[in-house]
């Protein structure tokens, strides 16, 4: 998988377009496909409790806590996400729902329980902060596979190193990024973003990987932002795959009535 960086969320999605890359070598193709499935399509569904610690350049920290549920309509295809916020307290019980498509814009909803309001969110710039953290929405939900050109830069002992260059450089703040894909698990372990002056300024990396129900899974990851001097560490607990989540959970009904699965 190349368009996406490191698996921010073991459950996070990733755009897989049916199209293949005529320009890419078959080897790259295969790495992309395997990495995509390893990072984003483990099991048919999944759940994790996520804790984020956001640290600014002056060392002040803020915490975020949420439960994320994921359902795959089709392996490598459409996915749904249900994110139930627990902390900080001013967003407690707020729900973020995403219907992710591979051939059109995602649908996103936000449910504000105090107002009983189901708000529709415009899904445009995905490289904006997710909940004030250093992770972007795109780190959570994936970058379109056709948005970058990919090449196998080199092979190290344990990693394939891929270079990814955006096809539309104006739409993003980076000029390119490198991804290190683990040769054994095919998990993307590190992504390094270079700015317009080709200087690395942002690193997303997996800090810990564990085996969960036979799926190698990132349980701790970190984003470092050298421009602002801050970083965010995300930790994943209670990871479960194949819970048998019903697709109906990812509808308006369950915005108003959170499913049992999001409780502690």
């Amino acid at each position: 998988m190349m368009n996406k960086t490191v698996s921010l969320l073991p459950l996070a999605t990733f755009y897989l377009c049916a199209a293949t890359w005529a320009s890419a070598a078959p080897a790259v193709d295969e790495i992309v496909d395997k990495a995509n499935k390893a990072a984003y399509y483990a099991g048919n569904d999944g759940k994790a409790n996520v804790t984020m610690t956001i640290t600014d350049s002056q060392g002040r920290t803020r915490n975020r806590e949420f439960v994320i549920l994921r359902h795959d309509s089709r392996d490598g295809g459409e996915q749904q996400f249900y994110v139930f916020f627990k902390k900080p307290s001013d967003v407690r019980k707020t729900v973020f729902l995403v219907h992710k498509y591979t051939d059109k814009d995602d649908n996103r909803w936000m449910y504000l329980p105090d107002l009983d309001l189901v708000k529709r969110i415009a899904a445009s710039d995905k490289r904006t902060s997710f909940m004030g953290s250093h992770f972007f929405y795109e780190d959570v939900s994936g970058r379109g596979i056709n948005e970058d050109k990919h090449e196998l830069l080199k092979e190290e002992d344990t990693f394939y190193v891929l270079k990814n260059t955006p096809k539309d450089p104006v739409s993003v703040e980076f000029s390119s990024y490198l991804v290190w894909v683990d040769k054994k698990t095919f998990l993307p372990m590190k992504a390094e973003y270079a700015d317009k002056a080709d200087k690395p300024y942002r690193i997303v990396e997996a800090l810990e990987v564990e085996d969960v129900q036979g799926h190698p899974t990132v349980t701790k990851s970190r984003v470092q932002d050298f421009t602002s001097g801050g970083e965010t560490v995300a930790e994943f607990a209670n990871i479960t795959y194949d819970l048998g989540l019903d697709e109906s959970i990812f509808t308006e009904r369950y915005l108003r009535k959170p499913p049992r699965e999001v409780h502690r």
């Binding site: 803020r62 307290s89 001013d90 107002l115 529709r120 415009a122 710039d125 902060s129 953290s133 009904r253």
Partner: protein, 429 residues
């Protein structure tokens, strides 16, 4: 405002201060313990909020808002359902009242696999408008909205039964309100308004009596929604039978404001368009006690329509616009019935809204602006707001409610003397 601003803030800080530092950690431990032992999920906040009129209002106090508030929310799963209680303790130094208000007290459960029921006091919302409501005929608290309370308080709770049935063809929501729940409208208590009886702006000097609608069946409300999501395009049909939510009628014999009977038939659609979200909604308001429109004491029937569009304009910067219109039916009959000398309403009330929201400093600073502008009424209402999250507990907010109008009797123009600015400090837990 006997207790005053200084004391209000002092109380807020003292209360919140107690909970900071070591106490904060203890509170978290205690909350976790409460959950572990009794499965009770607790949260809430303490807030001080103060605001002032920016001009003199001959009928009202200078303080538009001065209050201390503690909100507590507790939830617990019981059997296959969940119980929720949410209430506020409010010290209101404008009205010199101390009150306990229950915002939510309800039980949510699924009697059938494809059915949910919510019984009790609850906040209800549907429809597609942004601070404009056509098919959402659930009660609003306009006082809270105009004096600068948190947005949460615009929605007043309903004492209702909500039944929802989920089916492939459509989802059906039925809300039954046994005893009419009116909106908390502007009646002079703390905001001055145009009083058509006096033919002038009034406030505390002239509070009118209101009809009470409290007989079961006779004064019950029903609201129905059929909704379906076609791959991201959400469409809905609505019906409401009940009453105008604000007193749109007058009983001249008793000099009493009344809530005339109302039925509404509506529809809405919402989906993605041009990289943003577009919404459209309409509703026919059938004013059942004045279907010919010739009773000058009751509001005529009308069509309402709105269309809106929202999109991200730049990173962390979102903009949206709406157009809204109220089209009075039987306008000729209305014109003929208006008392000579009284200002007559226009056949069409056009309204535009604009919302701009910018997130700064890792989304901890939120700068927002909302404006209503009516070219037909020649009035507007501006709501600028700045909010900063100091940390995960503390939030400060400042904003204003600015009313302008060429006439004293238009919807927003009548509130001109209530133009105010406010600030608040909140500690959430």
């Amino acid at each position: 405002m006997k207790l005053g601003f200084a004391r209000a803030v002092g109380l807020a800080l003292a209360a919140a201060g107690l909970a900071t530092g070591v106490a904060r950690a203890e509170l978290q431990t205690w909350k976790d313990g409460l959950y572990d032992a009794y499965a009770i999920d607790l949260g809430g906040f303490v807030e001080a909020r103060n605001g002032w009129r920016l001009q003199n209002d001959p009928h009202e106090k200078d303080a538009s808002i001065a209050e201390m508030r503690l909100q507590l929310e507790a939830g617990r799963d019981i059997g296959r359902g969940s119980l929720k209680l949410k209430g506020d303790l409010l010290g209101d130094f404008v009205t010199d009242d101390y009150t306990a208000l229950l915002r939510e007290g309800n039980f949510l459960f699924s009697p059938l696999a494809a059915m949910d029921m919510k019984l009790g006091r609850q906040v209800l919302t549907w429809g597609t408008g942004d601070l404009l409501f056509i098919n959402d005929l659930f009660p609003k608290d306009w006082k809270s909205f105009f004096i600068g309370r948190d947005d949460e308080y615009l929605k007043a709770p309903s004492d209702a039964v909500k039944a929802s049935y989920f089916h492939e063809l459509a989802n059906v929501d039925l809300v039954f309100v046994p005893f009419f729940n009116p909106s908390d409208h502007i009646n002079g208590e703390r905001l001055s308004y145009w009083n058509p009886v006096l033919g002038e702006t009034a406030g505390q000097n002239y509070r009118m009596d209101e009809e009470e609608r409290s007989s079961f069946g006779h004064d019950s409300e029903f609201a129905l929604r059929l909704a379906k999501n076609y791959g991201g395009t959400e469409v809905a049909l609505y019906h409401y039978t009940g009453f105008w939510k604000t007193p749109e009628g007058l009983n001249p014999a008793a000099m009493e404001l009344i809530y005339p009977r109302l039925s509404v038939y509506g529809a809405s659609g919402r989906g993605q368009l041009w990289g943003g979200i577009a919404n459209i909604e309409t509703g026919f308001y059938d004013s059942r006690q004045d279907q010919d429109g010739d009773d000058p004491m009751l509001r005529n029937s009308e069509w309402r329509f709105l269309a809106g569009f929202e999109r991200e304009l730049a990173r962390d910067f979102t903009g949206s616009m709406q157009y809204y219109v109220e089209w009075m039916q039987d306008y000729e009959a209305y014109k003929e019935s208006v008392t000579a000398g009284s200002p007559a309403r226009d056949e069409f009330r056009h309204l535009f809204t604009l919302r701009l929201t910018k997130l700064l400093m890792n989304q901890n600073l939120i700068v927002s602006f909302f404006a209503y502008y009516s070219p037909s009424d020649q009035d507007c209402y501006l709501r600028p707001k700045v909010r900063y999250r100091i940390d995960d507990q503390w939030t400060i907010e400042a904003g204003g409610n600015f009313f302008y109008g060429s006439d004293d009797f238009t919807f927003f123009g009548q509130f001109e003397d209530n133009t105010n600015a406010y600030a608040s400090l909140r500690w959430s837990f």
